[in-house]
């Protein structure tokens, strides 16, 4: 009987466990997590912090879900190291856990801002359900807040401010939000969305240090220009640090994440990885890549489990990811790898509509849609087909994209 061990009970670990049970009904499956609650819906915790969703719908699995599938769930359990020679997972207390095949799906932890007082009371990071509960509590009692981190995670804090009636100052280091993927035209739409909910973007700013009161509670953020912004709480989202400390003593190949191939295999025999933590080989992009979206993590878990159960390179991971921002009156959708590629095309259509398509070697590798999401399906299809369409960018920027107008693939 095969012993499968999964470290991490996020969507990738849980998806893998479900797949393993389907593929190998007689196997022993163990999930180890240092969190204190089973799988919940990480995408929806921001809606809870905004005050829009109660807790109950955010939980996905209760402990019965695991019991019914005869999956051993070990909560509040810290893995200290793995021994890939002996095929053992060592935990902080209790007996070692042997494995035949191991999946690492431990994700990351928000990176702390490296400035004085960044660990003060009232400075929040946004990753777990517990984080969301604490942010909601702070926001409900706050008048002013500061947000740091001009990316896809930071904007959730801005949305919490808007939804909870908190006056927010969004401190950004550069001249716009998500400057790696948006031009000034695209970013301006997002800035206006922030302003509409009561959050003011502050450019060429950031945080030099935080000030605290006598109780150690954050009271203000001071930016590198010396400007002081009073706040009742601060939200920091400057990126993730991957949870790989327990792997430092191993020979696992890491490069800002765990390196895996398209089958989710690491360089160590019978050790796989899935989810945010991977630097995977993206077959559509033709190079190693990373992705933090829910769908990608879920699919990586499924593919890893399929190959683990087959004991072979049975299925490769091929996925076009989506990440949406739904906080404003207009929608925003990023797909694929919009910050990569060697050229791009973009157009603004109105005060709330903008589009960018990124190309690599003539093929679409990602993009951003603001306001009008209708072409997303077509663009993803072209990505999967790996169609050479960069020379037809004008057609891709028409308000309504008609695939029939594109030159047939076989004639290229």
């Amino acid at each position: 009987m095969t012993e499968y061990v999964i470290i991490g009970d996020g969507i990738s670990g849980s998806s893998a466990a479900e797949t393993l049970r389907e593929e190998d009904p007689d196997a022993n499956i163990t999930i180890i997590t240092d969190e204190g609650e089973p799988l919940y819906n990480r995408i929806l915790i921001k809606e809870h912090a905004k005050g829009k969703l109660p807790e109950a719908p955010i939980s996905i699995h209760d402990e019965d879900w695991y019991a019914e599938r005869e999956i051993e769930l070990s909560l509040n359990t810290h893995v200290t190291t793995i021994d890939s020679e002996e095929k053992i997972v060592r935990i902080h207390e209790g007996e070692d856990i042997p494995y035949d095949k191991l999946l690492i799906a431990t994700g990351g932890t928000p990176t702390q801002l490296p400035v004085p007082n960044s660990d003060a009371e009232g400075i929040h990071h946004f990753w777990t359900f517990q984080d969301a509960r604490a942010i909601r509590e702070s926001a409900e009692a706050a008048d002013d807040a500061v947000v740091v981190g001009a990316g896809l995670l930071g904007i959730d804090f801005a949305a919490v401010c808007g939804a909870q009636g908190v006056e927010g100052k969004y401190l950004m280091r550069g001249d716009r939000w998500w400057r790696y993927a948006l031009s000034a035209d695209g970013a301006e739409i997002m800035h206006n969305g922030m302003r509409d909910v009561g959050v003011e973007p502050v450019f060429d700013s950031g945080v030099d240090h935080f000030e605290t009161d006598d109780d150690g509670q954050v009271a203000a953020a001071v930016d590198p220009n010396g400007e002081r912004y009073e706040c009742d709480f601060a939200g920091v989202a400057i990126g993730l640090t991957f949870n790989t400390e327990f792997l430092y003593g191993t020979d696992l190949e890491m490069e800002n994440g765990i390196v895996v191939d398209e089958y989710m295999e690491t360089n160590l025999e019978d050790v796989y990885a899935a989810g945010d933590i991977t630097r995977f080989y993206d077959v559509l992009l033709g190079e190693q890549a990373q992705n933090g979206s829910w769908g990608s993590a879920k699919e990586q878990g499924r593919v890893a489990a399929t190959n683990m159960a087959a004991d072979a390179q049975s299925e490769e991971f091929q996925w076009v990811s989506s990440y949406s921002i739904t906080h404003f009156d207009f929608p925003f959708l990023s797909f694929g790898h919009p910050t990569l590629g060697d050229e791009h095309a973009e157009r603004r259509y109105s005060d709330t509509e903008w589009r960018r398509v990124a190309f690599k070697d003539g093929k679409i590798v990602g993009g951003v849609l603001i306001g009008d999401l209708s072409p997303q399906s077509t663009f993803k299809k072209l990505m999967r087909q790996q169609r050479d369409v960069a020379d037809q960018a004008e057609l891709l920027l028409e308000q309504s994209v008609d695939m029939d107008k594109l030159a047939p693939a076989q004639e290229q």
Binding site: K52, E55, A56, Y323, T326, P331, S377, K380
Partner: protein, 73 residues
């Protein structure tokens, strides 16, 4: 017969202002590609869809720029 039941029940999306604790809720980033396409097209057109919604359950709430309840009327 199952087929006639399906035909008789028209799928709609209705905006809701609150979400009950016992609701099934998903964010649009959790929808499979055909479901996402259906959802966006239905909202965009504002009309009763002519094709069945793939992968949605009656009563399920989808979080988009607002919350939308999927109903089989």
């Amino acid at each position: 017969m199952a087929t006639s039941e399906t035909i008789d029940r028209s799928p709609t999306l209705r905006r809701v202002e609150s979400v009950p604790p016992d609701a099934t809720v998903r964010h649009i980033d959790q929808l499979e590609e055909p479901t996402l396409a259906w959802f966006l097209e239905t909202l965009e057109s504002g009309a009763t869809p002519t094709v069945d919604a793939p992968g949605l359950e009656d009563g399920e709430i989808i979080v988009f720029t607002a919350c939308y309840r999927f109903e089989l009327s």
